[in-house]
């Protein structure tokens, strides 16, 4: 139990929190951007691959989302160089499933029904168990 509260435990928790928070913000911004842009298949059929790429790259939410995803990526690289993959990857990945479900319901107004909550929790627990 003490391991949770010693310096290394807190440092690990802080690194995991940094990855989870930045990944969740990035995911929500990217999902909001893609929802706003619309079906990429339709855009590509209408204005070609160049039009689809321009529609994505010109979206401010997409650019902000990429910034937070990059932040999450470098936080992950930093954390992997200090702590074991078997701790960082499953903890960050599984927690992100739950924080994304909460954030998608609040900010994206997605219809997160009982089926999706169960799926998010099952996947969260499953990813954590896979690291054992």
């Amino acid at each position: 139990m003490n391991a949770l509260f010693n310096g290394q435990g807190l440092a690990d928790a802080a690194m995991i929190a940094a990855i989870v928070i930045s990944a969740t913000i990035g995911d929500v911004l990217l999902a909001a951007a893609m929802r706003g842009i619309g079906d990429l298949d339709e855009i590509r059929a209408r204005s070609g691959m160049g039009g689809a790429i321009a529609a994505v790259l010109g979206n401010a939410r997409f650019v902000s989302g990429v910034f937070f995803m990059a932040l999450s990526f470098f936080s992950l690289l930093f954390a992997l160089s200090h702590a074991d993959l078997s701790l960082i990857a499953p903890a960050a990945t599984s927690l992100t499933f739950v924080t994304n479900a909460v954030a998608a319901k609040i900010f994206l107004k997605e219809n997160v029904d009982r089926r999706r909550w169960i799926a998010a929790l099952f996947v969260c627990a499953g990813v954590a168990l896979m690291s054992l």
Binding site: S81, A104, R116, A119, A120, L121, G126, V127, L132
Partner: protein, 144 residues
């Protein structure tokens, strides 16, 4: 959901865990990165494993964006988590790694979670901006 869209979800599922695994292999080679020398994270990109990992993650990102344009975030994320199972099974049957009972339970839970979410609708229909922002529930969509 068409076959092509399931294929895009499959690319999201497989490239993400494979890319992450390659990144971790690369970072093990680079060694610990100090807070005082964060610039060494930039040089870490030149490592072959990290380079290949990044290439896979670019494929992941393109297909992830495509999937988010026609499916909800809370559908795409659980649905594509089956990639973790695929990588674990590849490790067992290709690399002859042992899978502990805990991992088998994890594989079962992820597969069950993917089964749950893919049984439901993939997209929350919303009204256009001129209308209210409130999302439509399934029953309302059926009425329309």
């Amino acid at each position: 959901m068409t076959f092509r869209r399931y294929l895009v979800l499959a690319v999201v599922a497989v490239t993400a865990p494979l890319g992450d695994t390659l990144l971790s292999l690369g970072m093990k080679r680079v060694g610990p990165v100090s807070l005082d020398h964060l610039s060494s994270l930039i040089y870490a990109i030149a490592t072959p494993q990290i380079l290949l990992g990044i290439a896979l993650l670019i494929c992941f990102f393109a297909s992830y964006l495509a999937s988010l344009s026609w499916a909800d975030l809370t559908f795409v994320l659980p649905a594509t988590s089956i990639g973790n199972v695929i990588v674990a099974l590849l490790a067992k049957f290709w690399l002859n790694e042992q899978i502990s009972p805990g991992r088998w339970i994890g594989i079962f839970l992820i597969t069950a979670g993917v089964g749950f979410v893919t049984q439901g609708p993939s997209y929350t229909e919303t009204c256009k901006e001129t209308d209210t922002e409130r999302p439509l529930h399934n029953a309302e969509v059926q009425q329309l």
